[in-house]
Chain length 360, copies 3
Amino acid sequence: MQVSFSAAEITAITAARAQRGGTSETIRGIAALTDAAPGDLSFLGNAKYKAEVALSRASIVLLPADFAGEPDPGQLYLLVDNPSVALARVCARLEQRLWPTPAPGIHASAVIGDGVRIARTATVGPLCVVEAGAEIGERVHLQTHVFVGRHAVIGEDSWLMPGAIVMAECKLGRRVRLHPGVVIGSDGFGYELVQGRHEKVPQIGLVLLGDDVEIGANTTLDRARFGCTVVGEGTKIDNLVQIGHNVRVGRHCILCAQVGISGSTVLGDYVVLGGKAGLAGHIKLGKGSKVGGGAAVTADVPAGGFVNGSPAIPYLLERRIAVLRQRLPDLFRRVDSLEVQLRDEKRLSPGQPGPKMPAP
Amino acid sequence: MQVSFSAAEITAITAARAQRGGTSETIRGIAALTDAAPGDLSFLGNAKYKAEVALSRASIVLLPADFAGEPDPGQLYLLVDNPSVALARVCARLEQRLWPTPAPGIHASAVIGDGVRIARTATVGPLCVVEAGAEIGERVHLQTHVFVGRHAVIGEDSWLMPGAIVMAECKLGRRVRLHPGVVIGSDGFGYELVQGRHEKVPQIGLVLLGDDVEIGANTTLDRARFGCTVVGEGTKIDNLVQIGHNVRVGRHCILCAQVGISGSTVLGDYVVLGGKAGLAGHIKLGKGSKVGGGAAVTADVPAGGFVNGSPAIPYLLERRIAVLRQRLPDLFRRVDSLEVQLRDEKRLSPGQPGPKMPAP
Amino acid sequence: MQVSFSAAEITAITAARAQRGGTSETIRGIAALTDAAPGDLSFLGNAKYKAEVALSRASIVLLPADFAGEPDPGQLYLLVDNPSVALARVCARLEQRLWPTPAPGIHASAVIGDGVRIARTATVGPLCVVEAGAEIGERVHLQTHVFVGRHAVIGEDSWLMPGAIVMAECKLGRRVRLHPGVVIGSDGFGYELVQGRHEKVPQIGLVLLGDDVEIGANTTLDRARFGCTVVGEGTKIDNLVQIGHNVRVGRHCILCAQVGISGSTVLGDYVVLGGKAGLAGHIKLGKGSKVGGGAAVTADVPAGGFVNGSPAIPYLLERRIAVLRQRLPDLFRRVDSLEVQLRDEKRLSPGQPGPKMPAP
């Protein structure tokens, strides 16, 4: 992708509060502090990398307002409220070039069922299938190879990337983004063992995604047994996550990659699940609770709670136990030594009987 | 989805043994006991929710035959052998509306290779590809964007949902269901390190799925190095599961989401693997054995065994150790205290030499 | 698949150094030692199965040069440098039949954007989409339902299997293999919490795959926030793996199934990650380091290091601790016993004060 910004443009986009030094370079790329070369824009996103600023060869560096150092000659420091947010604003400009707004219309190769309602401003790309009775809102973009099942509803300004699949009856809010290969509305996993065979429990509910939900590549959300599997407004889900039937995820949650949530579990708003965390079924995680990466949560977590480990327990306790666990070899040695000492003592003072101890 | 059943219809479908009370409501939805409103059908699927029955506003509640309570006015209790199975029968009626039987035929946009045999009663939906020499059985439904590779065989009454992929030579039994994005027959993961480079070990075997196998969204099953990767009749596999090359899964097994099975491992019939369980390669799990969620199984499990933990050990032992692990901080304190006591004792009785103890 | 080789053909393909016995059977299949029947080729790939050779009914067995036993009548032993490599050579012949080289050309159902460059020797299969400005190299095979986004580049001799997705701007080296459902270049997972809402951090970088990279089914690689997510030459990645934004994987690494790597983590060359291993973000794994299956790596690993467990620690230490952990019930009993003994001692010698001990 071609990038080209003048120093003045970067200053304007980032709404810089102050500046030090100056550069005549055209910004042609963005890079981390130590990777940057002249012509690059860089930024201090995390105070722990502060020492790298002075070493950076970036032509422009976005810095927090209280940053103390001085730029090299030909280098521009821009002082901003939040360097990460400022950088994001520059990147948002570039994003428009990476993902230009598609022209509205239905590609000739798309297959559209009976009674489908597609807004005039929507784009249905090549080789998409929209089944009978589905509704596609204003400015929706079905990119390519997208499937929208019978009577499904896609809210306005949503973007379904290549190979995204929305099964029948499921409903997406506005500004939803589905990354490639996402599956919304596969059957929940439910069977009854009858005479030695697993009889399928029909899964006739649906999946409901709130506004501004974003879902990562190849993530799967199962439809409810009945009723709804729900993901609340503003929640962001990473790649390869599995969400079971009848799960209810609150608003503004963060679910990192490879998380798995078993059926009927309920998450409050602002819950954060670390990567690979697994949640048992039929439990509740309170508002704002957090789960560490890889944790196995088998019981309710109170609002604001932070758990980790397998099975998950309060985070600080888990951390302490994890440290003690690593000292187990030492603990076994210490207990060995205590036993030897007690035995030796008894040998040395034979007048005292040694209760429960075998003869040395 | 429009739902509309009279009380008499529900009574008939569920084959109720007895009833208490009555309702004139039309059933328009299905909901859990505490979520239900008038017009809803509900059920007691798990005795632990018994207390919720009296609180439920559902118009009809399916209950076990020995249930003791009385309905509210305008409420109907139906006593059945198994409320979950009875509900499933109602849902099965609705499922037919959700997933109506497609009309047989090959969609004009499908791409069919040479020498393909497609049964007259089969449906090949939009944008499917069936490569040369493949066989599609009676009443098979390839929904949309399905790929069936060269010489693959799809058994009668199977349903391959959008984006399901069956690579060359693989064979599916009858009534197999592949959910969206399933991949059958990707290469097994095998390399030989030769002069610093990983040379590919060709994977020329296939995948064989028995009758009534159901496989969840985006799950992957690798083809064998040679011979077959096998999943036995009636086995159900959840979403995002990985099955390595030459694995043999028995009949009527249950594999929950995000399970991973390394190459050449063998599962007997009726094995149950909890979510996220991982199995090492070249091991055997005996008939009816169970693995807890997230467990890492590194050795054989005997028939009927139940293991958990990482590495997995017998379930009850793991549970006990998990509890003791949480008491490690206390154990370290106790050992500290024992050491102090022994040291103090020695100080108080200086006539006794303190073997192996440093001077206090 | 039809297999048919004479003993002479097998001898030639495997470049056998010596032979014992002989067979007139035509080789019609390949099987493990104990599964093999007359007409099968088998091999001793692992010395631990040595005893199975004498029991095998295979018509031809590939054996290491120093193997001592004698074949049964009608059975041929071929002595080779490396039986696994020799077998791979036979399988490579069969692989050509399983995956014949496709005829060059663009299928009529493929959708090709403006300004796309497709080499004359490339094959663009049915229902593929190649967006504007993309480049498809010599002898590339886009099988079916493949998506190649705007300005993406696919290096020569690469093979993208059904449903593989390469998002805009991403670049693949030569001889890259993407298995079905792979997603290259989905957005990295980055948000800033601003006034209670997760604002998206634009992900405008790309993904760069080196030569000879192979990636398993439904694996996902996120594009960089800016700059590149990189996978080095010759690295092999299994199914359902997640690679976060700005990760750099070295050359000739092995990443087993369901691995997850968080953002900005760096792997040196020849790193091996066991199945289901999870790596925290912003850490470094040195050249040739190894991570055990299911391990959770939260800190740097030195070159040549081998870690395991959760959180991961040096492999041998983890192994020792895992054993001691299983002896926790015994350790608690021993400490109970020590406490009882000390208490009893004090009772027996009342002249000594029992510091810090409660009265018995």
